[in-house]
Amino acid sequence: MRRKQTSGTIAVLAGLLILLVFVIIGCCSCWGVLNRLAPSGGETPMPVRSQATLRLAYSPEKEPLLSELVTGFNALGLTTPDGQPMTVETVQLEPDAMIQGALSGDFQAITPDSSIWLDQLDRAWQEQTGSESPLVGQTVRYAISPIVIAMWADVAQGMGYPAQPVGWLDLLARAQSDPNFGWSHPSTTTASGLLATLAEFYAGAGKTRGLTEEDVQRQSTLDYVAAIEKTVRYYGEGEWALVQRLLSEGRGDLDAFVCQEQLVIYYNRQAGSSSGPALVAVYPKEGSLWEDHPLALLETPDLTANQRLVFSRFVEYLQSSETQARVLAHGYRPTDLSISLSGPDSPFTSDLGVDPAQPQTALQVPSPAVVQVVQDVWWYTKRHTNVYLVADTSGSMEGEKLESAQEALRIFVEQIKGDVERVGLIEFASDVYDVVEMDELGRNREKLMAGIDGLWAGGDTSLLDGVKVAYDRLQERGDTERINAIVVMTDGLENDSVISLYELISRIKEGNARGVRVVVFCIAYGDDADLNTLRAIAEASGGDVRRGDPETIRQLYKILSTYF
């Protein structure tokens, strides 16, 4: 009976096994049929969805315009033929960082402030890859803006403008003859800074065209440019940041600065003066230069067909009459020539400090090779720096905070290219310590790096004493030829200094009036930093306060390095 039951079970199992085999065969047959019936054919691979997000890098001064336009484009809800949403993602970068990012394939399109960078990018690409094909592909323009000298209306009137044309030479002569005249231009890492520097080299060479490498490197030209650069108060990360600072902190001691025309309109609108423009755009009589804001597709090896399509649609969007009207509204000159600059909605009015019939003439743009020499030589002719890095190493800095700050300090030192710039390092906790004496970077760069590596946290916060020591050192040095500055960073409240805030501020004000002018840039590191104290110190010296945290501190020090 048991045997019978067993043989029956075996028979059922065998039947099930056979059924399984036959089911598999049947399924395979059906699969074959289904494949034959499938419309795409059995041998066609599944289509690969290609990336439809275009990553676009833009220069900082275009922030208000680009954010509005990109938001508008993304809101259109366009899709690619394979059904993916067309999206533009943006990243804000200074042109030099943009070139590095483009070479690394970080984005598929760029819109720097000037075409001048596109040539440099292609040169760098060809050096990097040896390719004859340029990286810069289809390039279009949607907005242009001339470079002007922005002056406060009373300063411009004092120089006879607009009845009397004013030029680069007038500005430079005024800066040399009047020690109280403050002017600045961005560093050569932005088009405005580079073009202002080119204007200086032209003036130094006694030309308005045909600038050669020999002209740039001639000793008389270098001496002229160096003399002019000595009159610069300090440099900075760019015209956009400067305009923001002027809006938030007021006029300060700056009489003139170099920027794009549209920023004059922007400032005057934001400032909202009812008695005429606060700032006036002076179009230099020797000639201006234009920023043409190119939008360029980068022909990177991994550029997808969809990204190319997104670029095309974005170009169409930028060049549409509606978008071009927005370009005008932001104070740029639109590339759509049917839009008049004199129309009723145009901001190109004397009330906003600009003149649409200007500029009358332009300086000649030298070849990329000459431009490169100007950029290289500028580091030797620019106004040099004595800067103290003053760092908080109190107990609250322990851990990630100090590590991030150390990395930021290292970046600061790396970013300052010129070996003749002087940098020193002071730390403060319960006491103040001279970590690395101030010296030219050519001599102490390695010491600084080692000093930064060796910082450790512990003790209280003698912030005011730390600033005082650095300030006194700079006064003792008495070097009026250079920019003298302190970059101080703290994460907490002052609690252990001998000097009071009142005494320190009085000391700075008196010292700056009588002796060497020292600017203090303060970094409030984290939420617990004593912002009011830092603000008082910065204001007394004509400096600035920035907020930072372990995430942003590296970028902040990098930005501050451009001031020197």
């Binding site: 019978k4 000159r333 000649q364």
Partner: protein
């Protein structure tokens, strides 16, 4: 009984299994069986006729017109032998396209091989043919027969100068030609020396960068023609040190040869007299930008025709290599016919181009030549001498001279 039930279960399972297999195999063999029996196969949806893609690399001066025409062509649903035709236009300067053909850079992933090319001038076609004759032993673009290169429009080179500046030059020199422009360009005192305003600075010449815009090369050829007072120039003319010095002085008056240099007339319009007082540029570009210049700048532009005339003929040229199919080549010809139709040629006229189809008159109602007669535009150009297309060696010599002496200045 138990034994019987087990057997029954076993046979039921076997039966089901056999049924599944028979059905599966039967379905899979059905098309073959019905086919062999001459019966109609199982009805399947009829495959859509494959679209013929025509990819046209197009010179920049005619690109807006050709792109517009391609949109209309695609919208009208043209077909060839039952296949729909779709045309895609790829804007590219003639010299850039020539370089890509010669370096074999077309046909990469995401960028299919162009079916046809509309360069600025016939001589670019000849240059690419010469390269491929060395590589493949035959022409890749034909010069006769059905697939030969045919001009789709023509545009001359003419002087475009801001009116205030043109007046001063006329008073100073009488005629405006390359000699007068050279003297103006080299005037050490700038515009005041020529009789113009101090604030105009130096005379600023507009010449496109020949490495980025073939119009720059055409300007140098035209300048050489007037320098030597003849309509054909050779390598020995380009190599003459006296000519090179003269041309170098002329090029020294160009404000910008950087990336901006690719756009020429657009620059003249956008940046106005600040970047250029004038230059010898493509007539169609001048006509198209005339209105914009008057809107943007108070000073209008004036057109002056030179004695030695150069021009672009924008030949539609079908690629004869195996990278595209015969049907695609024929589809390209369909688009070419469309471009030459009177209606589409009329659109070219609206963009300042001289139609290649002789049935379309230049003085029609939408003609920019008529609209801008007051600014010097002419339907018929008088007493002109046509410059002959220079050969490859002359063009190479001019480009090399430019690279060594101007691009590196």
């Amino acid at each position: 009984m138990t034994m019987d039930r087990t057997r029954l279960t076993f046979f039921v399972i076997i039966g089901v299994a056999v049924l599944v297999v028979v059905c599966g195999v039967g379905i899979s063999l059905l098309p073959r069986i019905t086919g062999s029996l001459g019966l109609s196969p199982m009805p399947t949806p009829a495959p859509a006729a494959e679209t013929l893609e025509v990819r046209v690399v197009c010179a920049l001066p005619v690109e807006p017109w050709v792109t517009e025409a391609a949109k209309q062509f695609n919208a009208e649903g043209h077909t060839l032998e039952g296949h729909p035709i779709h045309v895609e236009i790829v804007p590219m300067d003639g010299l850039t396209a020539k370089g890509r053909y010669e370096r074999g850079e077309f046909g990469t992933e995401g960028s299919p091989y162009p079916t046809a090319w509309i360069p600025d001038s016939r001589y670019l076609v000849e240059l690419v043919n010469a390269t491929y004759k060395d590589l493949r032993g035959r022409d890749v673009f034909l010069t006769d027969g059905e697939y030969r290169a045919r001009p789709i429009a023509v545009s001359l080179f003419a002087w475009g100068i801001y009116a205030t500046r043109e007046k001063v030059l006329r008073e100073k020199y009488g005629e405006i030609d390359w000699h007068a422009i050279h003297d103006a360009a080299t005037a050490k005192g700038g515009w005041p020396e020529l009789g113009g305003n101090l604030e105009w600075g130096y005379f600023k010449l507009v010449v496109p960068n020949p490495n980025k815009n073939v119009g720059g090369l055409a300007a140098m050829v035209a300048a050489a023609g007037e320098y030597y007072d003849k309509n054909i120039i050779g390598v020995e003319d380009v190599m003459d040190p006296a000519f090179q010095a003269w041309l170098g002085e002329l090029m020294g008056a160009v404000t910008d040869f950087s990336s901006l240099g690719a756009y020429s007339v657009e620059n003249l319009a956008l940046f106005g007299y600040s970047m250029g007082d004038g230059g010898q540029l493509l007539e169609s570009d001048l006509l198209v930008n005339m209105q914009g210049i008057q809107t943007r700048w108070a000073d209008p532009l004036v057109i002056v025709y030179p004695q030695y005339v150069t021009w672009f003929d924008f030949p539609f040229t079908v690629w004869m290599g195996p990278e595209t199919t015969a049907q695609e080549k024929n589809a390209a010809l369909e688009f070419e016919k469309y471009l030459l139709s009177p209606e589409v040629q009329q659109q070219a006229l609206k963009r300042g181009l001289r139609p290649a189809n002789p049935d379309v008159p230049l003085d029609g109602p939408d003609s920019l030549f008529v609209k801008w007669q007051s600014q010097g535009a002419k339907v018929v150009v008088p007493r002109a001498t046509a410059m002959r297309s220079p050969d490859r060696d002359v063009l190479d010599a001019l480009l090399k001279w430019f690279d060594r002496n101007v691009a590196q200045r």
